[in-house]
Symmetry: C2
Subunit: 251 residues, 2 copies
């Protein structure tokens, strides 16, 4: 039994030291999605030759910034998996240097696109929410804030309803545990500034609603103006369809 | 603007050292409910004479086991409040002894009944879920497990759908961070044992569905068989009505 509605796959072709290197992947997952590597399955292959420890060293941070930065329902699964296999038929990639950097970037792109396909196909999802937190004390704090905002049921239902409810965003930031100074917080929904220095910016309500209605993903950008920490987290809106799919699915 | 649909109030009358002592309270709250003392407001009064520090010492653990053990949507608010006022017109209560114990128990009953009225009136709620975890390493671990199960969207939608989906309960236990041995876990839904030693107990599916359909609150009891830790947590089922109320409430 799966609730996935579309195949999820992505590949990049890189030019590394004159050789064509391919990294491709496919994955499944639509509900019980809040991966700490547990219902989500992803399989990635490459034709490069890379030592297993080097591959693992590249995969771990890529997964941390992609698969582990998505949530459909905040319910962790018991069996998320990302497997990466290398056939060794194209370029040889070492642990460092330009080739390694190019390969790592390609690998992260594949992970990010696959992770996004899971959120886009999330149970009941009508739109993806991309939460970008900048200017945090550090990256971990930025992630904490971005996850709390992205997983908030009130933020997720507001997006579903095209409601530019910035109070809900700030409340989730507040309980996230991240350090911030309320007087410095700024928030954009798409290109429209909604909050400036902790208070409502000068915008027209109907403009904000229109931005939310037209966008997918919906971009929420939060500037904390404290430091250099940044993180991006992807979640989905919360809809009646999610509730139906998970309550009456057997009848 | 409030989404509360009913008044929420409760009182007890105690007989303490020959005197009638009253403790009464009222509260509001229906959404953005996951109190760490922040949208929820509760006001409790008593006619006893109790020193402020003694009252605070009694109120804090009562709130920890009642108001702080409920969740409608896991979204903390910025302004939950419990106020307790004493007029001093009935008995004088000290910090210790029988009178203090009787008063504390009465106070906790008022807190618990008010907290339950909030969950019962939670936005979109059709039924309350009472999660009782026993046999945990300690009370804090039991609370961690009970909260994770109570707040799981998949458990909340399963209860809404009368689906005895014990896998979802065990998954939430798994990611709660609480210590447990899967082979020892037992689960009851109402009086029906669903899991025994980590595997499905011998029950008929239609009996379990019937239990869920008839019960409110729905009692989920989890025995970890590790220690003496125990906790109770109250949440609500997740319904299409919750989503509607929080997405299209302005239109």
């Amino acid at each position: 039994l799966t609730t996935d509605t579309v195949p999820k796959e992505y590949a990049v072709e890189l030019d590394i030291e004159g050789k064509r290197v391919r990294i491709g992947g496919c994955c499944k997952g639509a509900g019980m999605i809040s991966p700490k590597m547990a219902t989500m399955l992803a399989f990635i292959t490459t034709d490069a030759e890379v030592a297993p420890t080097v591959l693992q060293g590249m995969l771990r941070p890529a997964v941390a910034r992609t698969f582990n930065c998505i949530s459909v329902d905040a319910d962790q699964s018991t069996n998320d998996t990302v497997l990466l296999l290398a056939s060794g038929r194209s370029a040889r990639i070492g642990a460092d240097g330009e080739a390694a950097a190019a390969f790592s970037a390609g690998l992260e792109e594949v992970c990010r696109e696959l992770a996004l396909q899971i959120v886009r196909d999330g149970e009941g999802t009508t739109r993806v929410i991309e939460v970008r937190v900048k200017g945090a004390k550090d990256d971990a704090d930025a992630h904490r804030a971005a996850r709390a905002i992205g997983e908030s049921l009130l933020v997720k239902t507001a997006v579903y309803g095209n409601d530019p409810n910035w109070g809900r965003v700030l409340v989730a930031l507040g309980y996230s545990g991240a350090d911030f100074d309320p007087d410095r917080v700024a928030l954009w929904m798409e290109d429209l500034q909604i909050v400036n220095g902790g208070v409502r910016a000068d915008y027209r309500e109907e403009d904000a609603e229109q931005r939310l209605q037209d966008a997918s993903p919906v971009h929420l950008v939060i500037e904390l103006a404290l430091g250099d920490g940044a993180a991006t987290f992807w979640s989905s809106d919360m809809t009646e369809a999610y509730v139906r799919e998970n309550s009456v699915y057997r009848t």
